[in-house]
C-alpha cells in the first residue's frame, strides 16, 4: 500500500499547485457538462411544464417513456450518437465525432429525460394546487407554464443540478464519442479510467478528488438553495 500512499500525496500536490494538465481536464469537463446541463434545461424544463399542465391523448405513454429514458445507459447513448456522427452516419458530414461538441450532444441526450421527467413531477404537484386558480384567472397554457416554472424555481434548481451531476460523473458516452484524446476531449472521468488502467494512480486520484469536491459542493449548494426557499415559504 506504499504506492497508494505515495500516489495520494502526489495527487494532493497536483491539486494544490493546480497542475496544468489537471486544470485543463477539469475545465473541459465543466465546459462539456455545464453546456449539456444548460441545453437539457432549455429542452427539458418546458417539456416538463407542458406535460404537467397539458392533458392530451397519449400523455401517459409519453410520461412512462420519459421515466424509462431516465435510466438510459450512457454507453448506449454514446453508441447511438457515434453511429450518427461517424463518417458513414447521417450526420457524418458535420465532422463532429471526437470533439467536445459531440460530447455535449451525447450528454444532453443522456440528461434531458432526467430534467424533463423530474421537473414534470415537481410541476404536476404544483399545478394540482394552482390549476383551478389559473383557470379562474383565464390564463393561457403558455402563461400557466411560465408561472409554474417560475414558482417551482427552487425545486427546479435541484432538478437541473441532478442532471449536471449525472453528466459530469458519466464515462461511457463521452468515452465513445469523445475518444479521450489528450488536450482535446479528455475529461475527468475518461482520464480517471485511462490513468487507472495504466497504473498512473496519482493523476487518477487527483481527478477523483476534484470530482468528489465538486459533488459535495453541488449538494451543499442544493441544500443552501432549499433552506433559503423554505425560510421564505417559496419551496
Amino acid at each position: 500500500m506504499q504506492d497508494f500512499g505515495a500516489a495520494f500525496s502526489l495527487a494532493f500536490e497536483l491539486v494544490m499547485r493546480a497542475d496544468r494538465d489537471l486544470v485543463e481536464i477539469v475545465l473541459l469537463s465543466l465546459r462539456v457538462s455545464l453546456s449539456a446541463a444548460l441545453l437539457a434545461c432549455l429542452i427539458g424544463l418546458p417539456l416538463g411544464a407542458f406535460l404537467a399542465a397539458a392533458r392530451f391523448r397519449g400523455r401517459g405513454t409519453v410520461i412512462v417513456t420519459l421515466n424509462a429514458l431516465m435510466g438510459l445507459p450512457p454507453v448506449v447513448v454514446g453508441l447511438l450518437v457515434y453511429l450518427h456522427l461517424s463518417r458513414a452516419g447521417p450526420l457524418g458530414f458535420l465532422g463532429l465525432l471526437y470533439t467536445p461538441t459531440a460530447m455535449i450532444i451525447a450528454q444532453t441526450i443522456l440528461i434531458t429525460p432526467i430534467v424533463a421527467a423530474l421537473s414534470r413531477q415537481v410541476l404536476e404537484d404544483l399545478n394540482a394546487e394552482y390549476a383551478e386558480q389559473f383557470r379562474a384567472f383565464g390564463l393561457s397554457r403558455w402563461q400557466s407554464m411560465q408561472a409554474l416554472l417560475w414558482d417551482a424555481r427552487y425545486a427546479l434548481v435541484t432538478v437541473s443540478l441532478a442532471g449536471f451531476g449525472r453528466a459530469i460523473a458519466e464515462v461511457g458516452a463521452v468515452m465513445i464519442v469523445g475518444g479521450n484524446i489528450d488536450h482535446v476531449t479528455r475529461v475527468m472521468t475518461t482520464a480517471i479510467a485511462l490513468e487507472t488502467s495504466r497504473g498512473e494512480l496519482a493523476l487518477a486520484l487527483a481527478l477523483g478528488l476534484v470530482l468528489m469536491v465538486l459533488a459535495l459542493s453541488i449538494n451543499a449548494a442544493v441544500q443552501g438553495v432549499r433552506m433559503n426557499a423554505e425560510k421564505r415559504a417559496y419551496a
Binding site: 394546487e129 394552482y130 383551478e132 386558480q133 383557470r135 379562474a136 384567472f137 383565464g138 390564463l139 402563461q143 408561472a147 417560475w150 414558482d151 421564505r232 415559504a233 417559496y234 419551496a235
Partner: protein
C-alpha cells in the same frame, strides 16, 4: 314573484334551465336565475347543496351539462370570465412576495400601471406587507391578498366562495367591509356562505339552494323574515335553535 328584487333594475346575470350532471349524479338541476347588475347576492344552502359548484359554473370553470348562462346579455365566454373574479375559500397564492402576487395578474391582463397595484394593496390594508412572502401571511391576510388580486382588475362581477369560513371574527369583518365597499362601486357581488349572520349583514337578495335546486330567490328582508320555501324555513330555524 320571487324576482321582484331583480325586476327593479336591469338583470345582469341570467341562467336558464342550468343543469350539471356528474356521472348519473345530478349536482345542479333546473337553475333559473336573474340577478340584477348591482348589490350583493348571497347564495346559501346546506353543505352539498351545490353552492360552490354553481359559482364555478357561473364563472365558466365547469361547463354545464345543459342550460344557458348570459352575462349582460352575452353568452359566457373566456373573455367574459376574464372580466370577472372568483375568490376561493382557501386562497391559492403564488410563491412570491405580496406585491408580486398582484403584479402577476396585472401582467396577465396586460395592465402595467403601478398605481393599480398600490391602490389594491392599500384597499385591503396590506401595503406595509408588500415585500413579505405571500405564503407567510396569516390566514386573514392571505384572504385579503386574494381579494386584492381579485379586485385589482376591476371586475364586473366578483364571486366569493365562503371566503371567511376559516377566519376569526376580526378577519371576517375586514373581508366583509371590503366586499361591501366593492359592491357600491359598480361591481356586482355574489357571495356564498352558510353563515346566517353574515348573510344578514351582507345580502341584498338571497338565493337558497337545496339539493342542487333553486329553492328560493328573495330580497334579503323578505327571505329572513318570512322564507317561502320549506327548505329555507328549516335551515333558518334549525340554525337559530342550535
Amino acid at each position: 314573484m320571487r324576482d321582484n328584487v331583480v325586476q327593479s333594475s336591469v338583470p345582469a346575470l341570467h341562467t336558464e334551465a342550468l343543469r350539471l350532471e356528474d356521472g348519473n349524479h345530478c349536482l345542479l338541476d333546473d337553475i333559473n336565475l336573474r340577478l340584477c347588475a348591482d348589490g350583493i347576492t348571497v347564495i346559501m344552502g346546506h353543505n352539498g347543496a351545490g353552492k360552490s359548484v354553481l359559482l364555478r359554473v357561473l364563472h365558466g370553470l365547469i361547463p354545464p351539462s345543459a342550460g344557458r348562462i348570459t352575462w349582460r346579455g352575452d353568452a359566457l365566454t373566456p373573455e367574459i370570465t376574464r372580466r370577472q373574479s372568483l375568490v376561493f375559500q382557501k386562497p391559492v397564492l403564488l410563491r412570491r412576495s405580496v406585491a408580486a402576487n398582484i403584479d402577476f395578474i396585472l401582467r396577465a391582463r396586460g395592465l402595467r400601471d403601478e398605481a393599480l397595484r398600490w391602490d389594491a394593496l392599500r384597499r385591503v390594508g396590506l401595503l406595509d406587507m408588500r415585500d413579505h412572502p405571500a405564503r407567510r401571511l396569516s390566514g386573514g391576510e392571505q384572504q385579503r391578498l386574494a381579494l386584492a388580486r381579485a379586485l385589482v382588475t376591476s371586475p364586473e362581477l366578483l364571486m366569493l366562495d365562503e371566503p371567511t369560513a376559516n377566519l376569526d371574527p376580526g378577519a371576517t369583518q375586514m373581508i366583509e367591509r371590503i366586499v361591501t365597499e366593492t359592491a357600491v362601486q359598480n361591481t356586482k357581488v355574489i357571495f356564498v356562505t352558510h353563515d346566517i349572520g353574515q348573510a344578514r349583514r351582507l345580502a341584498d337578495d338571497v338565493v337558497f339552494l337545496h339539493k342542487g335546486r333553486l329553492a328560493e330567490h328573495s330580497p334579503a328582508a323578505a327571505f329572513f323574515d318570512a322564507p317561502k320555501s320549506a327548505a329555507a324555513q328549516a335551515y333558518l330555524s334549525g340554525d337559530i335553535l342550535t
